[in-house]
């Protein structure tokens, strides 16, 4: 199978980037999109050219590492599928595919198709948990959870934090991601005590990270590989509104976003002594 991959190349965030076209004649319908990039990278290395950087790890659609735009669609044309599981049989022989990184202010570019998604970690850090220290839990069956609640919680908890929702949103909003965690924990009886504070903190953090505001367009759920339902955003808004009243006496602080990777260690070792 022949393909042309038109790939965004950018050595680092501070440098300018551009599209470079790579014709391939050794693609194969059973390959995944990432295997296609592997094959191209093997050729590039052999030719002495810098291979394309892309994020990946489990390659079975669950770790959330991979993801880029294919012809303008986050994770490409197949519904509920990450690029690691997207096989080339969904494309036509001779087709040109444009591969671009997630583009959002809150996801600064690192290299080529790789972006920095630590903003998501900070949203969880701000309150996306139930405060229960190890050892303090009652028996598992001491807290009955209605099957329907457990199932709904699981639907939201399935989020893999890939960032497709942000990339697909014209506003680069993180409402689906944030709403998914707020919904997952808010539905369960274990999560009720912190429901208000959690909503206030997570929404505040989402805003300071530089994600845009949600205007209910719904592109996010359309590209979500785990099909997180749009209703999690409604649940988040409801929780936030209620919490703004119930928990109004709580001062909500946020974590200052950072984009630096260098740990600034005093130990500077010259790599080429």
């Amino acid at each position: 199978m022949r393909l042309t991959l038109k790939v965004w190349r950018q050595a680092r965030g501070s440098k300018a980037g551009k599209f470079v076209s790579y014709p391939m004649d050794n693609a194969n319908a059973d390959m995944s999109m990432l295997e296609c990039l592997d094959v191209l990278n093997e050729d590039l290395i052999t030719r002495g050219e810098d291979p394309i950087a892309f994020e990946h790890d489990c390659r079975e659609g669950i770790c959330g590492s991979c993801g880029f735009m294919i012809n303008g669609i986050a994770h490409g044309p197949q519904r509920a599928t990450t690029v690691c599981q997207l096989t080339m049989r969904h494309f036509k022989d001779g087709e040109e595919l444009t591969l671009e990184p997630w583009r959002a202010k809150a996801f600064p570019l690192i290299k080529d198709l790789v972006v920095d998604r630590r903003a998501f970690d900070r949203i969880i850090e701000s309150g996306g948990y139930i405060s229960v220290s190890t050892g303090s839990a009652p028996d598992g069956n001491a807290i009955p959870v209605a099957k329907e609640a457990a199932d709904r919680a699981m639907d939201s908890a399935a989020c893999i934090s890939c960032g497709a929702c942000v990339a697909a949103c014209p506003n680069a909003a993180a409402a689906l991601f944030t709403g998914a965690k707020i919904t997952h924990l808010g539905i369960l009886p274990q999560g009720k005590p912190e429901q208000d504070l959690r909503a206030l903190r997570m929404v505040t953090q989402m805003n300071v990270e530089g994600f845009g505001g949600c205007t209910n367009i719904g592109e996010c759920t359309g590209v979500c590989p785990k099909e997180i339902p749009l209703e999690v955003i409604a649940a988040m808004n409801r929780d936030y509104l209620r919490a703004s009243w119930h928990a109004r006496d709580n001062a909500v602080t946020s974590i200052t976003p950072f984009t630096e990777w260098s740990t600034g260690s005093k130990l500077k070792v010259d790599p080429h002594p």
Partner: protein, 637 residues
């Protein structure tokens, strides 16, 4: 060298309680003065880092991924075992202990396994409290499913994403501690060496994968929770980034590596489709609850599966193992699949596959019930193969999945290097020669939530660390050694890519040290591995620089370590003249083709000491004693 497992004496039901009571405690006010490094953020690492943070220690946690939530524990599908006996089907701590020792083919320590079974019940409680959405009955109670190697239903699950949900629970607990300021997280940071001062583990050297900076982190002790080494086979169900580097470099600094040849081949993976293939995809073992495994009775029967009548099908597991049937342990299921394929009865274009058929279950329970149980797995299968498993039986074939071997640890999960603790798949401890399904999640969380936090306290209370600074010769030496390897890899500028070497290495290990092994093959493999490694160090091509985001360079260092590990695996497999669990030596089998153990001579843990480059490793034996579960020929018939 003498190995002391520090296994407490006394009745097995009481030893963990007693050990905990005998441990010294660290004054709560002093905990924040103790610095602990946790390398890896999977189930074991994240749960250990979070719990140590909750206790008040000063923790740094490292992962090579962009976020701690991506560790490969996330991909575990089927479930987690716990001896809750909620199903009232006769389960107990003792039964889980018994099943695990037997399932491991009597090559694990009894005391460790008993503790694991004991802690299993607390893990479920903890995870439920964190908000892990386990499957429920309509009455709101937790539900269970069965898994291989057990006749009770003790596996808790969250659809086909149990590992994901448990890891997110641990990750969220970890993020809570990051916010509290007790844990500092270092993502995109790879450990490249262990710093040993006066025989004690005191720090690590890391490379920042974005900037290339080499950093030193010093502490009072180090926890490695860096997972298994299945990627030595190149094609495995592990994530692409999973590697042995942290453990291997600790091994080269003196930590013993135990039972490296104990690797697990998982019976239900999607068969290989082509040369370009980068990884194998697992289909959860839970599928064997309702799927029936078969091949055609006749060699060369190429009819489509739905046209082969019942009378021409061989349900070989049900036939050979009537009492466990399709639910035999993984090693047995894998070996039998290989056997029928070797006989020429395999299915699919490569002939390396067997059918996993759900038509009976769909007829009996209805499509909806099957969808509810396995929907996401069926979708995944269809996405990859373009075949609909509701209509056509799945094709599956064994693939490397888990490694029981790992760094040697004592009962307190400390390696022979004081101050170096090893948790989760990275250690060798609890699964013997074969791990039962749904036990890896249990072990990772048991180590991280409930064992390491106690045992580290005991270590710190007993050992007052001497101050070490970055100018210490051991630190400088470790940093220089890391730089040397990096510079060497970049300077070779040969003609072959890292992946091409890795693929070739993987094929050697799979062919000669995979599902079955023999002495001559292992000898041959050792020679081939050495040859290929020599070529690697003269002909590999790594482009780019050390001061950048350079994925080829990351891989190159990891593959270099896989070469050395591969050789040790073969040496260990050659040394062990018996078959047990996942280690099947063709020379040692019963008349009906089952693994034949030799308890007289091989009832020990084989721990290997690194003796320097080019030197043969030294074998140190830790004898195993069985006072409760008496070794017998494992039978699932």
């Amino acid at each position: 060298m003498e190995l002391n497992g520090r296994i407490p004496t006394g009745p097995i039901e009481q030893v963990w309680d007693k050990a905990r009571f005998d441990m010294k405690l660290v004054n709560p006010a002093n905990k924040r003065r103790h610095h602990i490094l946790v390398v890896g953020s999977g189930l074991a690492g994240a749960s250990a880092a979070a719990t140590l943070g909750e206790l008040g220690y000063n923790v740094k946690c490292f992962c090579f991924q962009d976020s701690p939530r991506r560790a490969h524990s996330i991909a575990a599908q089927g479930g987690i075992n716990a001896a809750k006996n909620y199903q009232n089907d006769g389960d107990s701590i003792y039964r889980l202990f018994y099943d695990t020792v037997k399932g491991g083919d009597f090559r694990a320590r009894e005391a460790n396994v008993y503790r694991l079974a004991e802690i299993s019940v607390k893990i479920i409680d903890q995870c439920v409290a964190q908000g892990v959405p386990f499957a429920r009955e309509y009455g709101g109670m937790l539900t269970n499913r069965s898994f291989g190697g057990a006749q009770v239903s003790r596996t808790f699950y969250a659809r086909g994403q149990t590992g994901q949900q448990l890891l997110l629970g641990a990750y969220q607990a970890l993020e809570r501690q990051v916010q509290a300021g007790t844990v500092t997280m270092f993502a995109r940071t790879e450990m490249l060496d262990l710093i040993v001062v006066d025989g004690k583990a005191r720090g690590i050297v890391t490379r920042n994968l974005v900037t290339g900076e080499i950093n030193v982190h010093l502490a009072d002790c180090v926890v490695l929770a860096t997972g298994g080494y299945g990627n030595v086979f190149y094609l495995s169900t592990n994530a692409k980034g999973s590697n042995v580097t942290a453990c291997w470099r600790a091994h080269k600094r003196g930590a013993l590596f135990a039972n490296p040849c104990f690797t697990q081949i998982h019976p239900t993976c999607i068969p290989v489709s082509g040369e370009y293939q980068s990884k194998l995809t697992l289909m959860s073992e839970s599928l064997r609850n309702d799927g029936r495994i078969w091949v055609p009775k006749q060699k060369g029967d190429h009819r489509p599966p739905n046209e082969i009548p019942e009378s021409d099908r061989d349900y070989f597991l049900e036939r050979r193992y009537p009492s466990f049937g399709n639910l035999v342990p993984r090693d047995v299921a894998s070996r039998n699949a290989k056997m029928v394929c070797d006989e020429g009865r395999g299915v699919g274009s490569s002939g390396l596959g067997v059918y996993l058929d759900f038509s009976d279950a769909i007829r009996r329970l209805g499509r909806k019930a099957i969808e509810e149980r396995y929907g996401n797995l069926f979708d995944m299968y269809q996405r990859i193969t373009d075949e609909d498993p509701y209509v056509v039986p799945m094709r599956i074939y064994p693939a490397i999945h888990y490694t029981m071997g790992g760094l040697w640890v004592d009962y307190y999960l400390m390696s022979n290097l004081p101050g170096l603790f090893v948790a989760g798949e990275a250690n060798f401890s609890d699964h013997g020669a074969n791990r039962l399904g749904a036990s890896a999640l249990m072990q990772g969380l048991s180590d991280g939530y409930f064992i390491i936090p106690y045992t580290i306290g005991d270590y710190l209370a007993n050992n007052k660390p001497i101050p070490v600074t970055e100018s210490h010769p051991a630190v400088r030496e470790a940093v220089e050694s890391v730089q040397q390897i990096t510079n060497k890899l970049l300077s070779i500028q040969g003609t072959r890519t890292v992946d091409s070497f890795h693929r070739e290495l993987g094929k050697i290990v799979w062919d000669y040290c995979g599902m079955s092994r023999n002495a001559a093959g292992l000898e041959h493999a050792i020679g081939k591995i050495r040859e290929l490694r020599e070529e690697y160090w003269t002909n590999v091509r790594v482009l780019g620089s050390a001061e950048d985001f350079n994925q080829s360079l990351e891989k190159a260092g990891r593959v270099a370590d896989f070469f050395e590990l591969a050789e040790l695996m073969c040496i260990d497999a050659r040394e062990r003249n018996e078959s047990c669990g996942g280690h099947f030596r063709e020379e040692y089998q019963t008349p009906d083709g089952e693994a034949q153990r030799d308890d007289q001579n091989y009832s020990y843990v084989a721990a290997w000491e690194y003796c320097g480059p080019g030197k043969a490793p030294e074998l140190v034996k830790e004898p195993l004693e069985f006072n409760y579960v008496h070794p017998s020929q494992r039978s699932y018939k």
